[in-house]
């Protein structure tokens, strides 16, 4: 099957999957408790409660309620966030931008460090780069993120005082417009190096903390895949052609080692997203993760449902991207089987 047809087909199935996901999300949330919990207090009389229920349509059969929710979503109405005291659709993009900027930075750190460390380690097995990678891999996989994050904070913020906390400096923030909500991009658009450095400066520690675990996973996978590839006949055949070791490594072995690594990279995406909750709380990062933590604690169902629905769709898309990249790297993959 052609790659283009394959992508097209997958996109066609996507809406069906999303509907399925939305039903699951709706059901699970309802099982968790009444959506009006956040508005109730002990002093209310049963009739007052019934009135609130009627106002939100909760006296209707469940499937009608689902359809109403779905209809709202199609019209861009995601409900009201009690925590933010505003419609979910007003707040969501802002929080999303904050989280995406953090996750993207962490993803870049993990991709770059993971692949570089893994390649060095695989190519120089049992030598210094390999040992360094092993330390990163073991610590990255075993140190709890909150512990590592707090450790960095104590050292660089509390003790040395060189790292900031939060997402930006208040005066610098006020000095430029924020059309995208991604502060680094906004700073570039406003041509303000000062704002750019401020944004990057605030990103470094959270991105490093968030990306560390993923770095470990990617590096370990890359290393073992590369070690395996370097033992294949085609590597010797490439050397037998007179190619420089650098070309043998980069063009032949590393490229092929990336094939299994791409799948793992796709999986680490979930790891990153999950990590944003902890990281945003530790570093006071005003993103989805922190908002979600608050919403869970206070039973803010509109926000929760939107978040879960959104991340599910994101996962479906990431999976599709991984499959496409995978097929592009390795032509032996037969699509759509």
């Amino acid at each position: 099957m052609q790659l283009r047809d394959y992508i097209f087909r997958r996109l066609l199935v996507l809406p069906i999957l999303i509907i399925g996901v939305s039903i699951v999300v709706f059901t699970l949330t309802r099982v968790g408790g009444s959506p009006i919990g956040i508005y109730l207090s002990h002093e209310m009389t049963p009739s007052e409660v019934a009135e609130i229920q009627a106002r939100f349509g909760l006296d209707q059969p469940v499937w009608v309620q689902y359809l109403q929710w779905a209809k709202g979503i199609l019209q861009g109405d995601f409900g009201y966030s009690g925590v933010a005291a505003a419609p979910v659709s007003d707040i969501f993009p802002l929080k999303l931008a904050a989280t995406m900027e953090l996750a993207a930075a962490a993803g870049c750190v993990a991709l770059f460090l993971g692949i570089t460390l893994g390649t060095f380690a695989g190519a120089r097995r049992n030598r210094l780069p390999d040992h360094i990678t092993r330390i990163v891999a073991v610590s990255g996989a075993s140190l709890p993120q909150f512990w590592f994050g707090i450790l960095l904070l104590i050292v660089f913020w509390a003790q040395l005082g060189i790292a900031p906390i939060g997402r930006s400096d208040a005066t610098i923030f006020a000095s430029i417009d924020h059309p995208t909500g991604l502060y680094t991009i906004d700073a570039i658009l406003a041509a303000s190096p000062k704002a750019f450095w401020d944004a990057v400066w605030h990103l470094i520690l959270p991105a490093l903390t968030l990306g560390y675990g993923a770095t470990a996973i990617i590096a370990r996978m890359m290393r073992s895949a590369l070690v395996e590839e370097l033992q294949q006949d085609y590597v010797d055949a490439a050397r037998a052609k007179g190619l420089a070791e650098k070309i043998v490594l980069k063009r032949h072995a590393r490229r092929n080692a990336l094939v299994p690594t791409v799948t793992v990279i796709g999986l680490t995406f979930g790891f990153l997203l999950q990590g944003t909750i902890t990281i945003e709380i530790i570093y006071r990062w005003p993103g989805l993760g922190r908002w979600m933590a608050d919403s869970v604690l206070r039973g803010d169902q509109g926000t929760l449902m939107t978040y879960v629905l959104f991340t599910s769709v994101l996962f479906l898309l990431v999976n599709l991207i991984v499959d496409v990249v995978y097929a592009n790297l390795d032509r032996r993959v037969t699509l759509g089987k």
């Binding site: 006949d233 085609y234 052609k241 070309i247 092929n256 032509r331």
Partner: protein
């Protein structure tokens, strides 16, 4: 070691080659004092059971051994690359089979001691190799064209620039592409004008060279084959690609390590024919490694029989097959299925190749040999001539002088 006349006829000489491997059980003497010559233009067969050191010997020519665990424990592999033909000065004449190159009187180089830089210049250009399984020796994620191009980029940069109509002193990203020394950012530079046009011209020239090389191996539609991936081709087709790639630069020596073992019998015959035809036309010398005696008999001028890290018999194909002098050679011949023997009923040699961890001082075939005597357990026979060009390492032809010399007339098992 070699006198002048003899030396000029040899494209390569292996002298007392020792390659060992560090293993958990000790040092494996995989190749343990092997000496032989490859004469210019000949096909030398290297036969023996699996595990007796044939591949390690063949790979030594290109230094394609994993070190560690491998240890180059001693010896020399001297190689005398061809120089420009004196009769036609490289233009190509009858005397040099239109290749423009002939055996030269130059000093040979020791392949085991030259720098890796020099080794790389020889690999793929002066000495090429074909591997056992073409399905594994081709990179699964690169097209045939991309893989074959690498040989030309590595060794034929000048010709490539010339064909593309670019000056020989072309520099910068274009040259780095043509010489396969990419730097970070080159890809981007070559994607946009003004370099884009030159890159395109190089690609056209490169495709032309690859197509020509593929056409030599009689593949149908070589231009189309370039865009295919290895898994889309049959085994025979893949091996043709490997052969085309190996012979692309007209090497002086081709190491063929069981090139048909992974193929069907019907395909095998055609591949053999192809190697033979190309070799004769280009006057390339071939070291043909195989475990199949009957196959070696068909295509080789001379045969070296290897056993447990040693050459035990060597001579012209005629001599060795008409009058095999080593019990192991005789055993191998008896094991060859003929039209008469039923399948699966080979007269195989009993036992297996011994583990070569610190081998004791005795004949390595002792224990499996039907003629062995006490002498064979106390001494290690060396390769000695029995007649001109035919040598054997066995006490049957070269008794030590002690009482119980072995003999073909006395089966002792």
């Amino acid at each position: 070691m070699l006198d002048a006349t003899q030396a000029s006829e040899n494209v390569a000489s292996v002298r007392d080659l020792k390659v060992h491997f560090q293993s958990k059980r000790g040092v494996v003497h995989a190749v343990d004092g092997v000496s032989f010559d490859i004469q210019d233009g000949e096909t030398l067969g290297l036969v023996g059971e699996t595990g007796c050191g044939k591949s390690v010997t063949g790979r030594s020519f290109l230094r394609l051994l994993p070190v560690p665990p491998g240890i180059l424990a001693g010896g020399a592999v001297s190689f005398r690359p061809h120089g420009p033909c004196t009769a036609c000065e490289g233009a190509g004449c009858e005397a040099c089979a239109k290749t423009g190159r002939r055996a030269s009187g130059d000093q040979p180089v020791d392949l085991l001691s030259i720098s890796l830089q020099d080794m790389r210049r020889i690999r793929g250009d002066r000495i090429a190799m074909i591997f056992q399984d073409p399905g594994k020796a081709l990179n699964p994620t690169l097209t045939i064209g991309a893989q074959m191009s690498e040989v030309f980029l590595q060794h034929r940069t000048a010709e490539l620039l010339d064909r593309a109509g670019l000056p020989p002193d072309t520099a910068g990203a274009v040259r780095r592409f043509a010489a396969q020394e990419p730097r970070f950012g080159d890809g981007l530079i070559l994607k946009f004008p003004p370099k884009r046009g030159q890159r395109a011209k190089l690609q056209v020239a490169l495709n032309q060279m690859v197509t020509e090389a593929l056409a030599e191996t009689q593949v149908p539609n070589p231009a189309k084959l370039m865009d295919r991936f290895p898994h889309e081709l049959s085994g025979g087709m893949r091996q043709r690609v490997m052969i085309a790639q190996a012979l692309a630069c007209n090497p002086d020596l081709l190491i063929a390590d069981e090139p048909t073992t992974a193929l069907d019998v019907t395909v095998e015959a055609r591949i053999l024919e192809l190697i033979r035809a190309l070799q004769q036309r280009r006057k390339t010398s071939v070291l043909y490694i195989s475990h199949d005696l009957s196959l070696v008999r068909r295509i080789c001028d001379r045969v070296a029989v290897m056993y447990a890290g040693r050459i035990v018999e060597i001579g012209t194909t005629e001599d060795v097959f008409a009058n095999p002098r080593h019990p192991y050679t005789r055993g191998l011949m008896a094991a060859v299925p003929t039209a008469g023997t039923a399948r699966g009923k080979l007269a195989a040699i009993r036992g297996t190749v011994p583990e070569l961890v610190d081998p004791p001082l005795e004949c390595r075939f002792a224990g499996r040999c039907p003629y062995e005597t006490a002498t064979c357990r106390q001494n290690d026979p060396s390769l000695q001539p029995v007649s001109g060009g035919h040598s054997v390492a066995c006490f049957i032809d070269h008794p030590t002088g002690s009482q119980d010399a072995p003999s073909f007339d006395r089966v002792t098992e």
